[in-house]
């Protein structure tokens, strides 16, 4: 095993930049930039979470107790933008930065300087976005979907949010280019495309989605900008424009965006479940093809977000059928994970707990997604708390649970120390219980008729809202435990020293490196031994 680790003896002189500024601001090292992305994502997760708690506090009881409706709308809007663009996406890019070079046997990302740039745009983009909270007129309050004409009723915050979105888009596109270039050009000899770990595959496909749709979003918001400030009428019916066109363009970006936030999660779970089942991943190629099918379908289902805008019958039928089709490749993935566990020899360390939690709770989100695809039923569900419950199941217990699973899984490789397993398990169980208390009752609220994005409601909705808020606060506090576990492991270094393999049955190139992984790894390409790949028999 050690023969693959070409940098074993370099631990002590791996040429890290010495100054703090040089190390963290000027870094072109994929590991340091990965860390920056992950830390940034955690900070944004806590900021977005605090906004969610403002929302849940106001909704704790009927009547307005804490905030004005305008500020409430700003909270829902900015919470979504921060969580999507600030927490979930950068976390996956951070994981890609850390893991893809180590998984394909490359010394670094293909374009290290651009890597630095694509990270450092992010703090400025979010400084712009969050500064609107302190402006006269407040932060954007028209929803993260920025539907006109409402979104351009805002004041100068419109320009700020649009420029922030432009910058996030530039950052994402550069990150995606870097990932594609790394995967296509920097694989060690013998690491054929169909031998790559599933995480690398899902990120390759995700990166193409990003390049395809971020410019579309940039175009849509630029038209908003000129409508607002330069007198154009792209989306104003009074000037011959079309407000529904914005929704079509937005969701042409928006639906692939949803998969940008879930495909890497599929990849992570496909790495973790085989490790802790001590059995190769079931149906490796089926997993890759299912991912590609989902990515393709993501481009032809966008209008299912807008069944109530008054589309022609034929359009509604097309988008309903196309959306229902997504259930097939997604089902294949879930069945493959279960089949991987079947007749395995399982243990349930924290990463596995989060991965199993992901499979179950994401599937529940998938079921509500299937229900939402049925147009006549969607006429009832649309824009209610049923939708809120649906997308939080796929994003919180889907994307975010997978990110937490990934952090626990690879943290020993990053830091050379084990995290506190007992606290990790507490974190999982508390998160899983509270997140269901938080989001499950929202299904009932939506079905009973509570619209989303309202600051106040009829007392009939009071009971489940109170339960949901209690779950929300408990989930929020639980995440502080996660922060403590990270500090305990990364900073205080109180955990046991991690071995090279870390997990009993972990396979893949990253586990052939010492723990912590040296600052420069695979400076000469490793030899690829098919038996060392995570997914066993790669011919199927």
């Amino acid at each position: 095993m050690a023969s693959y680790a070409t940098t074993d003896h370099h631990d002590d002189h791996d040429h890290k930049p010495t100054g703090f500024f040089e190390r963290w601001f000027m870094s072109t090292n994929h590991k340091d930039i990965g860390t920056l992305y992950l830390v940034f994502s955690l900070v944004m997760f806590l900021i977005g979470g605090a906004m969610a708690l403002v929302i849940r506090a106001e909704l704790f009881q009927p009547g307005l107790q804490l905030v004005h409706p305008d500020f409430f709308n700003s909270m829902t809007t900015v919470h979504a933008l921060v969580m999507i663009f600030g927490a979930v996406m950068p976390a996956f890019v951070g994981l890609a930065n850390w893991m893809i070079p180590m998984m394909v046997g490359a010394p670094d990302m293909a374009l290290p300087r651009m890597n630095n740039w694509s990270f450092w745009i992010m703090p400025f983009a979010f400084a712009l976005l969050l500064s609107t909270l302190f402006m006269e007129g407040g932060a954007p309050a028209g929803g993260w979907t920025l539907y006109p004409p409402l979104s351009i009723q805002g004041g100068n915050n419109v320009a700020f949010v649009i420029f922030a979105v432009h910058m996030m888009g530039i950052s994402s596109i550069m990150g995606a280019i870097n990932i594609i270039a790394t995967i296509l050009n920097m694989r060690a000899p013998g690491m054929d495309l169909l031998k790559m770990p599933v995480f690398v595959w899902t990120w390759l496909i995700t990166a193409f989605l990003l390049i395809a749709v971020m410019p579309v979003l940039a175009g849509a918001v630029t038209m908003l900008l000129t409508d607002k400030f330069f007198g154009t009428s792209f989306f104003s019916a009074a000037g011959g424009g079309d407000p529904v066109m914005f929704q079509h363009i937005f969701w042409f970006f928006g639906h692939p965006e949803v998969y940008i936030m879930i495909l890497p999660a599929f990849g992570i779970v496909s790495e973790i479940i085989p490790t802790f089942s001590r059995k190769p991943l079931f149906g490796y190629q089926a997993m890759v093809y299912a991912t590609a099918s989902i990515a393709f379908l993501s481009f032809i289902v966008w209008a299912h977000h807008m069944f109530t805008v008054g589309m022609p019958l034929g359009g509604q039928l097309f988008f309903m059928y196309a959306t229902m089709l997504i259930a097939v490749p997604t089902g294949v993935k879930v069945f493959n994970w279960v089949a991987t566990m079947w007749r395995g020899s399982m243990t349930f360390e924290t990463p596995m707990l989060f991965a199993v939690g992901f499979v179950i709770l994401f599937t529940i989100g998938g079921f509500s997604g299937l229900m939402l695809a049925i147009v006549p039923a969607d006429f009832q569900y649309h824009d209610t708390y049923f939708v809120v419950a649906h997308f939080h199941y796929v994003l919180v217990t889907g994307a975010i649970f997978s990110i937490m699973a990934a952090v626990y899984y690879w943290l020993p490789k990053w830091t050379g120390r084990m995290y506190n397993e007992t606290l990790g398990k507490w974190h999982f169980w508390l998160s899983t219980i509270t997140v269901n208390v938080l989001f499950f009752p929202q299904h009932f609220l939506g079905l009973a008729g509570m619209p989303r994005r309202i600051p106040d409601y009829n007392p009939a909705f009071a009971d489940f809202n109170m339960i949901s808020s209690i779950g929300g606060f408990a989930f929020g506090i639980t995440q502080l435990l996660f922060v403590w576990i990270l500090i305990d492991c990364c900073w205080l270094k109180r955990g046991a020293k991690a071995t090279q393999g870390v997990w009993e049955s972990a396979k893949g190139l990253e586990w052939t490196l010492p723990s912590p992984a040296p600052y420069h790894s695979f400076t000469t390409p490793p030899k690829i031994d098919d038996r060392m790949l995570a997914h066993g028999d790669v011919t199927h």
Binding site: A141, S236, G310, F335, S345, N458
Partner: protein
């Protein structure tokens, strides 16, 4: 006159609780509603829900069985296989068949809902920030409908009024929309400023109200009653405060109500109508 109307409203409100025209505490599920369409939608919803529950039981059942049976601590030894073509074909084909089974009733219902033809009357609905306007096309009856005074006072930040003391808090309006029962009523829906969405759950659908566009929808309410809903598309500060109330009355009572509205409008309308019509 207003007292009589108020009394009638109360009587209808009492009657309508049977049909669950407004949300109830601890309500878990969608209501079947009061039209043939809403009942079809409800059936469809229940069908998919139960299919999902069954699939969930099978998949999660297999998963939990595996997690309890194939544990290292129980001495399980991992198998080494990683594919099984038969199983993969089965779990691709069966979902396709299930989806076809869902798509068929969904398509039938959708086609029925899309047919706005043969309506006996048409009401134009216009969304404003933050109220609704109803116009009975061809009848010269039109009015604004906004949040009831009592709820508007109670909903102010720090009003000190307990919302549970206000009847139908945030689900009551000053002037409800009145429609006849057992009559196909067509709605044309638009907005004047930003996008809104008109939604009464008991009718089984919602439809966006978009400035510059006219959307169509229809309903045929079977039971007299008071049905409540809300704007369902974020439309700004008071999005949560523009409810919808529909009163469905038997045809004869509706005709009487409409005549009464016309009579109330008559003097004013005549004066306006005569001016432009004089050549």
């Amino acid at each position: 006159m207003t007292k009589a109307k108020f009394a009638l409203g109360l009587a209808l409100a009492a009657l309508s609780t049977a049909a669950m025209a407004a949300p109830e505490r601890w309500q878990l599920n969608m209501t079947p509603g009061v039209t043939a369409t809403s009942q079809d939608v409800f059936q469809l919803h229940m069908l998919i829900l139960w299919i999902c529950v069954v699939i969930g039981i099978v998949v999660f059942g297999a998963m939990f069985y595996a997690m309890f049976k194939f544990r290292k601590s129980k001495g399980a030894v991992a198998a080494t296989w990683s594919h099984n073509t038969t199983a993969e074909i089965i779990w691709t084909v069966i979902p396709v068949l299930i989806l076809l089974g869902m798509a068929w009733p969904a398509t039938k219902t959708l086609v029925r809902m899309a047919d706005t033809g043969d309506a006996a009357m048409t009401v134009k609905i216009t969304g404003y920030q933050w109220k609704w306007r109803y116009e009975y096309l061809g009848e010269d009856v039109k009015f604004m409908s906004s949040l009831s005074r009592a709820a508007d006072e109670a909903r102010q930040l720090g009003s000190g009024i307990d919302p549970s003391t206000v009847d139908n808090y945030l689900l009551d309006v000053d002037r409800p929309l009145v429609i006849p029962t057992n009559t196909k009523v067509r709605f044309v829906i638009t907005a004047d400023d930003v996008i809104h969405a008109w939604w009464v759950p008991a009718l089984g659908w919602k439809q966006d109200a978009i400035p510059g566009f006219i959307n169509e929808a229809w309903t045929e309410v079977k039971e007299p009653g008071v049905y409540r809903g809300q704007c369902a598309e974020l439309c700004g500060k008071d999005h949560g405060f523009m409810p919808i109330v529909v009163i469905a009355k038997p045809k004869a009572e509706f005709d009487a109500w409409l005549a009464e509205q016309k009579a109330a409008n008559a003097p004013a309308t005549d004066a306006v109508a005569q001016a432009p019509s004089a050549p």
